[in-house]
Amino acid sequence: MSKEDRIFDIFNILLIVIISLLVIYPLYFIVIASISDPNLIYSGKVWFFPKEITFEGYERIFRDSKIWIGYKNSIIYTVIGTIVNVALTLMAAYALSRKDLYGRNALMFVLMFTMFFSGGLIPTYLVVKDLGLLNTMWAMILPKAVAVWNVIVAKSFFENTIPNELLEAAKIEGCSNTKFFMKIVLPLSKPIVAVMVLFYAVGNWNSYFDALIYLNNENLYPLQLILRNILIQNEAATQMVRDVGSLAAQQRISELIKYGVIIIASVPLLIVYPFVQKYFVKGVMIGGVKG
């Protein structure tokens, strides 16, 4: 290896290490800050390790019922929403992947067009309102039941992995299209099912916008909306610290609660993420092939 290449490698590795640290440090800091004495964080004494470990923040969070209602709602919306999302997407994608589907291009255009033009916020809101979905669970699920991009990804997966001969053979055996889809295509398509479940589940878990516009009943709020009130609007946090004496102390403890809440909200994703990362990457790549 030439001298130039060795210098290149050293710089490259160094830069990558710095980038990784820049990405990981904020996340790490949240973890240590959530269990450190808020006064020490406030005065800038916590940098690399937690100091004066306290679980007061978490205790207050666990005592607050709103967060847990939000958690429950988010789980419900994510599970039901993802089932609807994946079922509709795979069914549509399979039908569109079949070359013998009459009017395939026209149907594809009907879907693709919505990627580039939409009615916009207000007309969509009016539709949801007219259907009587406001303030119901279904407002969290139906308005984003299918994502066009995911249909394209799944469609190109089917096109590339289900050989035409298989379909021909099944047809000769007298197998119907539905049976073929359920009994042969789906079992062969586990990777794309995993990809779709993950893409949609993360999207559902993380979304707050639909809840913001379609819900105004606190008992239906998903976790993200509760988080917004705590983290950004400082609402709920002040309620959780009412018993604390001085205003300054209240403020510091509500900061502590914020760190804890960030951790609690991210725990489900942080736990599964390392195991499922490869499926996400696979999904991007399947989509990327077709572009």
Binding site: E4, S20, D100, S118, L126
Partner: protein
């Protein structure tokens, strides 16, 4: 008709369709596929196409009891109101400014990261770095903005760091000039790693023989990146660039809205947040729809123009 379909085996059906050559038979043969497609199609009609029809209220004075059809036509009144409003130019400037800066800064970084990662030879180390840099992508916008607000608060991590180095604390969240850097910086932190995935995939497709031949000719790593790797990811980059330029007015509502404070409005108010406030908080349905439509039309014009331009220049295009 159903009897026709249930005849087992393909030949009978083929003969049938050749004989009649009727559209109907082609559809009926695969009626189950249409049934599979139906739920998604209903979804798109209800939640995408009916709202497109609902855009008509931009040209009407929408009265809820009269419905979309019954409300009186007013032509371009709402568009004129918007064009003449004192916020018009600042909204355009904020929206375009934010997305342009985001594109200029956010677009090249994933390419650079992918090129760098591609040069790492230890697979284990590479995978570890990838796991780290992809992680922020999965954090929700709410949590991201929550992190920004704790890190950049008056006594947050960043200001503590500034004080250590003898600087003066800055009220990041309250100053209009800090809105764009915070928005774009946090976007870079969150998305650069994930956006590199697609380039890494393109780089993985480069034939090793090309590199071997180049090494034989005495090319160093830097030269090989310039002359092999970059040309290899060009097609992907062009398509992604077309998509992002075409979406330049489509900057997300979600993060901007959360990052807004009463004090940073002069730079933080962008068209999507304005539409939300106008429409859903003040119930000015028609005016808000007009503003949204204006935005969508500019977007689609941009997309078509950029796509044409890219097609001419590099032969790459979306359609």
């Amino acid at each position: 008709m159903k009897a026709q379909i249930d005849i087992p085996g393909k030949p009978a059906r083929q003969i049938y369709s050749i004989k009649r050559r009727k559209t109907w038979s082609k559809i009926l043969v695969n009626y189950e596929l249409y049934l599979l497609l139906l739920p998604a199609l209903i979804y798109f009609v209800v939640f995408s196409y009916i709202p497109m029809y609902g855009v008509l209220i931009a040209f009407k004075d929408f009265i809820a009891t009269e419905g979309i059809l019954g409300s009186p036509w007013v032509g371009f009144k709402h568009f004129e109101t918007f064009f003449h409003s004192f916020q018009f130019w600042s909204l355009i400037k904020n929206t375009l400014g934010l997305s342009t800066f985001q594109l200029i800064i956010g677009f090249p970084l994933p390419i650079m990261l992918a090129l760098m990662l591609n040069q790492v030879r230890s697979e284990k180390y590479k995978r570890f770095v990838q796991t780290v840099v992809y992680a922020p992508h999965f954090i929700s916008i709410v949590v991201l903005v929550g992190m920004i607000s704790v890190f950049f608060s008056d006594n947050g991590l960043v200001n503590n760091l500034i004080t250590i180095f003898g600087g003066k604390p800055i009220s990041f969240m309250a100053q209009p000039e800090w809105f764009q850097p915070l928005y774009i910086g946090s976007g870079v932190w969150q998305e650069t790693g994930w956006a590199a995935v697609i380039y890494l995939a393109a780089l993985a497709g480069v034939s090793p023989e090309l590199h071997e031949a180049a090494i034989m000719d005495g090319a160093n790593k830097w030269q090989r990146i310039l002359h092999i790797d970059i040309p290899a990811i060009m097609p992907t980059a062009v398509i992604l660039l077309v998509l992002s330029v075409g979406n330049i007015m489509n900057i997300g509502f979600e993060k901007a809205y959360l990052l807004q404070t009463p004090l940073n409005q002069p730079t933080a108010e962008i068209i999507p947040t304005y539409v939300y406030k106008l429409g859903l908080q003040q119930a000015q349905y028609s005016l808000a729809t007009a503003v949204g439509l204006f935005n969508a039309v500019i977007n689609i014009i941009l997309l078509i123009a950029v796509n044409k331009f890219a097609k001419k220049l590099s032969g790459q295009s979306l359609w």
